[in-house]
Symmetry: C2
Subunit: 201 residues, 2 copies
């Protein structure tokens, strides 16, 4: 889209694709420059929108990040053989935290979700809802949301205990050891029987 | 201890029992009045020490709370039959979060540990170290610290996902359902084989 001077114009707020265009630009900028390096201005420029429109949709940079990072690892974890899902999910989420640079924005997201209700609401509405929406169709029809929630809260809880709290035995274990330890649990939550719970969509 | 006027005196910092006396008083005040209601002044008075001594040992009220709450549920979870440890630990930690009043100080502790490094250090040195120190002797000699760390990070991760993040399927489940779901996992971590890990103290 260009105006008469040939300059790329800002998209209108009513354009329903704006949100997706912004998210694509944000994912690209966060990946290239990290959370600190990526600026709202550069993301807006890359998306061809006004920074105010980003704020309108997502609030601040953290809110934009939460939305942009909606469940990207989920989509890849369920493409391989079903019996490897647990190990794959465990390795994917744990790996994300092994590099402090990669982990920084996730850690910031967790910290702000604990610290203020507005960030928590955004985290719930963007990241959590995104994971569930994208993951549920990939799972067994018996309680897929509960399965995914148990599996992901376990891998994230383990990652936080290892990297943020730095519980000594978890910090000292190797990534492979942790994957071997929790992978079978995650697999059971994803595809095994769910004791004490009646079948449910 | 009384001075010549008969007034109860402040204990000296060199008195090694001061720390325990303060912790007993703090536990009692936190239990009776909750985190907000309990004051450093009242705790100091109950312990017969100067409030400055509490700050010397524990920093602020949050630091004192972390220390006072060192692993109290742990001690009770391993008194029953060994095959029920997983369920008991799951129920104990999840129950702690069911009542918002009881959960408030734990939630504050989690939030401050994410938000600032000093609170995190205290959490690690008091609460985490306390849990490990008290729990390890109760567990099988093969990797007891790793067992306890996996078990507790799983139950706390589930509690946070249910009550703080409020992941819908976990928030909608009943307490009994969650205990039935994660209890067997916690039991395996505590007493079962540890895949991929060599036996180790």
């Amino acid at each position: 889209m260009a105006d008469r001077s040939g300059r790329r114009t800002g998209r209108r707020p009513g354009d329903t694709s704006n949100r997706d265009v912004i998210l694509d630009a944000a994912r690209s900028q966060f990946t290239q420059h990290g959370f600190r390096g990526a600026t709202m201005r550069a993301i807006a420029a890359a998306a061809g929108v006004d920074p105010g429109l980003i704020r309108h949709f997502f609030g601040d940079k953290q809110g934009l990040f939460s939305a942009a990072m909606e469940a990207p690892p989920i989509l890849d974890c369920f493409t391989g053989p079903r019996e490897e899902w647990g190990e794959t999910l465990a390795r994917t989420f744990l790996s994300l935290w092994e590099d402090p640079e990669t982990a920084a924005p996730w850690r910031a997201m967790a910290a702000s979700a604990f610290a203020n209700d507005e960030a928590l609401r955004r985290f719930r509405e963007h990241a959590v809802a995104g994971v569930l929406r994208q993951g549920i169709p990939l799972l067994p029809p018996d309680n897929p949301g509960l399965r995914l929630s148990l599996a992901i809260s376990h891998v994230i809880g383990t990652a936080l205990a290892r990297h943020v709290i730095q519980v000594p035995p978890l910090a000292a274990a190797t990534l492979d050891e942790l994957v071997a330890l929790i992978g079978p649990t995650v697999q059971r939550y994803l595809t095994g029987p769910l004791p004490g719970v009646s079948p449910h969509d």
